[in-house]
C-alpha cells in the first residue's frame, strides 16, 4: 500500500527548473488534468507503540474496513516502535515483530523517533532496508547512507491527482543535540534543530495540495511548529505520549497525537477542494475492548508473543543463585560493570524471585527484574550515600539496598534507630569522604526514595534488566554468588539473614 514517490524536495526543485526551461506549448503537453472538485482523504496514525503489539489486529481491521469502503486511505507512524516490551526488545533480531507487523499493516510512512535507535544504527539500517515504506525526517542527515530508506520528505499520490507532501522531524536534546538515546547508537548521523529545519520545509507547500509534518518532537513543540508554520495543514506527532482527542486546531493547523502503547488509533479526515484542504478533523479510536480483528495479524501477534528467545540460556552458574543478598549483588554488579559505575544499589522490592536456576534463561531474568526500570547515574558524596542507605533502612527497619562497589554496615541502638552507617571500599577500608562517586540506582529508587543528592542525576537510557543481560553475556564468574553478603546490620535485624 506504499504510494510514496520517493520524491524529495531536491528532486521537486529540479523538476520545477526543468519545467521552467520548456516552451509554453510543451508546458501544456505535460500539464495534467486538474483534479476533480473534491477528494476525501483518511489518514490513520499511531505513535509511541513501544513494542505493545497486541492491538495491531484491531487497528488493521479498522484500516482495512476503511480501505474497502473506497476511501483514499493512508497509514502513518510517528515513531518509537521499540523499547518497552521485552517480547519485542529481546527478539532475534531485536524488533523483528514490529517490522513484520508494520509491513503487513501497509504503513505508508514512518518518522523515526529517538527509540528507533535503541537497538543500534546497524539494526535500524537493516530494518529500514526491509521496510516497504520510506522513513521521513528532515533534520537527520545521513551522509554515509546508513538508513537506506531515509528521506527528508516524501510526496504521496492520493486519488484524483491530489498530492500529499510530508516531511518528518525528530526531537533532539538541548544538551548534546542528539535524540534521547545513547550517543553511540546514532554515530554517523547528523541532527539539526527541528523547528529551524521545518522553516526550510515550507517550500514543500508547492509540491502538493496537502502539507503534513509527521513529527516525533512532543506535543509542546508541535504547538510551536503550528504557530510558526501556518502553511501546514496537519501535524501528526509523537514522543510526549499525549492523547489529543479530538485533534486541536492551532493557528489553522490541525495538531494530532494518538497517546501511546497502541491504546488508540488516530484517524484524520481531510477534504480537498479546488487544490486546497477545506475541511479537516481528527479523532482517536479507542482500541480497548472487543473489536473486530484481522485473523492473520492476530496469528502473527500470538506467534511473536511466544518469543523463542525467552528460552535462550544466557549463562550457566555452578549452582542456583539463591537469596536476595546474592541476587542483589549480581544485579548491582551488572549495573556497575555495564555502565562503568563505581557503586550501584538495588532495592529489595525490585528483586522479584528468590532463586535463579543453574541455567539462567532470558525468561528467568525478566521474572527476576520485570519492571523496566532505567539505570540512573547520580554523582554522590559519602554523606549523600549514607542518606540514601538511611532512608532505605527506615522503610522497614531492615537492610533494603543491595550493593556493589562497597560494603556497608548500619549500626542501630537495637531498637531500629540508626547510630552509624559505615561504608567500606572494596579493599575493606573506610570509603574516602573527600570526593564524589558515580553511583547507579534504578529509576524507581531515584524517584521514590527520599535522600540528599545535589546532582539530580541522569537516566543512562537502558534498563536494569538489560544491564543484567549484558553482564551475563560477558560470562562473569558466577561462583562468587554463593553466600555472598555486602550489606550488614549491627546488631542483626529480623533474623532471616544472620
Amino acid at each position: 500500500m506504499n504510494r510514496a514517490r520517493g520524491f524529495t524536495l531536491g528532486s521537486f526543485m529540479f523538476l520545477l527548473l526543468l519545467l521552467a526551461g520548456l516552451t509554453c506549448s510543451s508546458c501544456a503537453s505535460v500539464r495534467t488534468a486538474p483534479p476533480p472538485a473534491e477528494t476525501r482523504i483518511v489518514i490513520f496514525h499511531f505513535n509511541d507503540v513501544h513494542g505493545k503489539i497486541d492491538n495491531f489486529s484491531k487497528a488493521a481491521a479498522i484500516v482495512e474496513a476503511e480501505r474497502q469502503s473506497g476511501a483514499d486511505v493512508f497509514y502513518f507512524c510517528a515513531g518509537d516502535n521499540f523499547t518497552g516490551n521485552p517480547v519485542i526488545d529481546q527478539y532475534d533480531p531485536p524488533g523483528e515483530p514490529m517490522l513484520e507487523l508494520v509491513n503487513r499493516l501497509g504503513v505508508d510512512l514512518l518518522c523515526p523517533g529517538n527509540h528507533e535507535f535503541d537497538y543500534g544504527l546497524e539494526n535500524l539500517g537493516k530494518f529500514s532496508a526491509r521496510a516497504r515504506f520510506p522513513f521521513v525526517s528532515a533534520n537527520i542527515a545521513d551522509p554515509a547512507g546508513l538508513l537506506p530508506r531515509l528521506r527528508p520528505s516524501v510526496v504521496l499520490n492520493a486519488k484524483n491527482g491530489v498530492r500529499i507532501a510530508v516531511f518528518g522531524l525528530i526531537q533532539i536534546e538541548a544538551g548534546n543535540g542528539l535524540p534521547s538515546t545513547h550517543p553511540d547508537r546514532v554515530k554517523g548521523l547528523l541532527f539539526s534543530e527541528p523547528l529551524a529545519k521545518a522553516m526550510e520545509m515550507k517550500k514543500l507547500r508547492a509540491a502538493g495540495q496537502v502539507l503534513i509534518a509527521l513529527t516525533h518532537i512532543g506535543y509542546d513543540q508541535d504547538l510551536l511548529l503550528a504557530e510558526r508554520l501556518p502553511e501546514l495543514d496537519v501535524i501528526i506527532g509523537g514522543h510526549s505520549h499525549t492523547r489529543v482527542d479530538p485533534a486541536e486546531m492551532v493557528n489553522g493547523v490541525l495538531v494530532a497525537q494518538a497517546g501511546s502503547d497502541n491504546k488508540y488509533l488516530g484517524r484524520i479526515e481531510l477534504l480537498v477542494r479546488d487544490g486546497r484542504v477545506v475541511e479537516k478533523k481528527g479523532t482517536l479510536i479507542d482500541l480497548k475492548g472487543p473489536l473486530a480483528e484481522v485473523a492473520d495479524v492476530k496469528e502473527m501477534i500470538v506467534r511473536f508473543n511466544q518469543n523463542p528467545a525467552f528460552a535462550r540460556v544466557l549463562a550457566e552458574a555452578p549452582f542456583a543463585i539463591e537469596g536476595k543478598d546474592a541476587l542483589g549483588c549480581l544485579m548491582t554488579d551488572a549495573m556497575r560493570s555495564i555502565h562503568g559505575l563505581e557503586i550501584a544499589f538495588q532495592n529489595e522490592g525490585g528483586i522479584r524471585i528468590n532463586r535463579l536456576p543453574e541455567k539462567i534463561t532470558l525468561k528467568d531474568l525478566y521474572t527476576l527484574d520485570p519492571f523496566g526500570n532505567q539505570v540512573v547515574e547520580i554523582a554522590m558524596n559519602v554523606d549523600e550515600i549514607r542518606s540514601l542507605i538511611a532512608d532505605s533502612f527506615k522503610r522497614g527497619d531492615n537492610i533494603d539496598l543491595q550493593v556493589s562497589g562497597i560494603t556497608y554496615t548500619v549500626r542501630t541502638d537495637g531498637k531500629g534507630v540508626i547510630q552509624e552507617i559505615h561504608l567500606r571500599g572494596l579493599e575493606g577500608r573506610s570509603l574516602p569522604g573527600d570526593r564524589t562517586y558515580k553511583v547507579g540506582v534504578s529509576s524507581y529508587v531515584a524517584s521514590s526514595y527520599d535522600f540528599k543528592h545535589a546532582d539530580p542525576g541522569r537516566s543512562l537510557g537502558s534498563t536494569t534488566a538489560e544491564a543484567l543481560i549484558g553482564f551475563l553475556e560477558k560470562r562473569p564468574d558466577l561462583s562468587i554468588y554463593r553466600g555472598i553478603q555486602r550489606a550488614f546490620q549491627d546488631p542483626p535485624g529480623r533474623g532471616e539473614r544472620y
Binding site: D48, A174, L223, H241, R243, D261, A446, S448, G457, G461
Partner: protein
Amino acid sequence: MQIKVNDKTIEIFSGACVRDVLRKYSKLTWTQVQKGSKMVCDGHGHQIGLDGELSDGVRLTVTRVRRTEPRS
C-alpha cells in the same frame, strides 16, 4: 531537570518519564493514578501516558477522572 506538578516544582533526573515524577511528587497521588481514580494531563489539558518522556520545564496536572454515572 525541573518539572512542575500541580504548581509544585519537582527536581528530577534527566530522562525521567511521567511515572518517575509522580512517584517523587506524592506517593498517594501515584497510587491514585495507578488505580485509575486520577489521571495526568499536560499543560494543555491533554492526558499523557505514564511512560511519556519529559523535558525540562514541562508542566503536569493531576486531576480526578470524571466517570459517567449510569442512569438508574
